[in-house]
Amino acid sequence: MHSLSMKQFMVTGINDMTQLPQTTDKKLGLVIDLDTCVGCQACVISCKGWNTENYGAPLSDMDAYGANPSGTFLNRVHSFEVQPDTGGCAQTVHFPKSCLHCEDAPCVTVCPTGASYKRGEDGIVLVDEDACIGCGLCAWSCPYGARELDQAAGVMKKCTLCIDRIYNENLPEVDRVPSCVRTCPAGARHFGDFADPDSDVSKLVAERGGMDLMPEQGTKPVNKYLPPRPKDTLQEVDASAPILNPVAETPKGFLGWLDKALEAL
């Protein structure tokens, strides 16, 4: 039932088609906290679960139980290792990646059919599968690998920002956020409106220095990434010293008297 009014959700952006809106009223998107993400892949699974049975063609798997399985996902978690220039231990960074709902989305303007579009009201970038010819040009134009051509349906799949959840009045209010955000056990994914400077996501970005991925591509991503906090550094001291030192060299008070008294015996 949740996808009941999907058409109604989607229809508004189609008039402008592949001409990008000058500005959007809202800028809905995600903040992804690279400090908090533990790389558990829960968002990957919940995204696939929600989106395979709701809007559009299912997210197919190919050779799922064979030797060379592959499948369509809208969100994937990479893991990187960063070796500090100053030496010391390398740091592992888990790195979820889904569509960044770019303001200057090249994937929209290249589309020959108008299937790819960016909505004027909230900036969400969507694919109208009924118009898509599966040419793949939009996936070629995306620097972030956020679009995958479904190998069974032959149409382009991408993150919808769970448009069929966030406006869905059939769901309890707490569930009206993207599936990946709702699922993340570490609270590493946040959803909100970046056009509103007082929104939680805008504040997080301001406080934590939220950044763009590959800014030199000029796509102006809406989604922002919070860099990992610097690692704790240990003081160069003998950590065991305070534990092993005697608490008191000579007993005082009652114990001192007892000590002396026993000594005198």
Partner: protein, 291 residues
């Protein structure tokens, strides 16, 4: 990028077909009546055959007509329009010539210009992509156009045109290969800018997001068989450029050698186009620590 046979055939043969139509449009050669039929037949067969090949690259071709709708922003849509308009204009030109024995030079010249614009729109599908630095340059379009003119000249059996345009294409090719090799680094794309983690230190992939392959890797991160690239470049350069020029010089107007020139040129350009895709590195590879 994955060198799919469908896109290789599409770009090679539509380029040759529209290139030949350009020459036929300006009247080099200018056969009349039924004698003109084989010329136009070859040109249309190549142009249309190439376009049909391109549809094999589509995941959902039943919507193909919708591809005409977004000409305001999409080079693919513009290409679709230009191809149809050019084929219509040249179709009228050819029909008048073959069936009515009427020559319409102004229409031919308009058709010739349109044919070159069609080749330009094809090239822009690739040259527009910032995500593939090797392609993202105006010399990509220049080379496509010079090759269309050069290949068309071979089909037209015109020695001066062959020597001039294949020669210019060869020069452009040397620049395109050389500058293309450096452009990815020059644009400053790296795993550090891709992840935004460069401030912290040197980044490498620790674990891929999936153990198997996926659409992104098979389509855009084509790394196998690039090791033969240099050998293949030499072969492509000799077959596509050097040999046809020599054959054109030798033959003057001897038709037989032009058929040989055409065959070696096509083989060379197929190799060149395979390299065009196989050597093109997409920035998404950075997220997989491979290019």
């Amino acid at each position: 990028m994955h060198p799919a046979p469908s896109v290789i055939f599409f770009t090679v043969f539509s380029g040759l077909g529209f290139g030949f139509l350009t020459w036929l449009g300006v009247g080099i050669p200018a056969p009349q009546g039924w004698a003109a039929f084989p010329y136009f037949f070859v040109a249309f067969a190549m142009a249309v055959g190439g376009l049909i090949a391109s549809t094999f690259h589509l995941g959902n071709p039943k919507n193909a007509l919708k591809a005409f709708s977004q000409w305001r922003t999409s080079w693919l849509s513009r290409e679709a329009w230009m191809a149809v308009l050019t084929l219509s204009a040249m179709g009228i030109f050819a029909a008048a010539n073959i069936f009515l024995n009427i020559s319409m030079p102004p229409l031919g010249i308009i058709g010739a210009i349109m044919a070159l614009i069609t080749v330009y729109t094809t090239s822009m599908m690739y040259a527009q992509l910032k995500t593939v630095p090797r392609w993202n340059h105006w010399t990509t379009s220049l080379l496509f156009i010079l090759l269309a003119l050069g290949g068309g000249a071979i089909l037209a059996a015109d020695s001066l045109g062959t020597i001039l345009f294949i020669g210019l294409a060869a020069l452009a090719q040397i620049y395109v290969w050389d500058a293309g090799d450096k452009r990815f680094a020059k644009r400053g794309h790296s795993i550090e800018t891709a992840t935004g983690l460069g401030d912290m230190g040197k980044v490498r992939m620790y674990e891929a997001p999936h153990s198997g392959t996926n659409y992104l890797l098979t389509e855009m991160v084509y790394v196998i068989a690039r090791k033969h690239a240099i050998k293949l470049r030499i072969i492509a350069f000799i077959l596509a450029y050097i040999a046809p020029m020599l054959l054109a010089i030798i033959s003057g107007r001897g038709f037989d050698l032009y058929i040989l020139a055409l065959i070696v040129h096509i083989v060379g350009i197929l190799a060149q186009r395979w390299l065009f895709f196989a050597e093109a590195e997409h920035v998404v590879g950075l997220y997989y620590d491979k290019r």
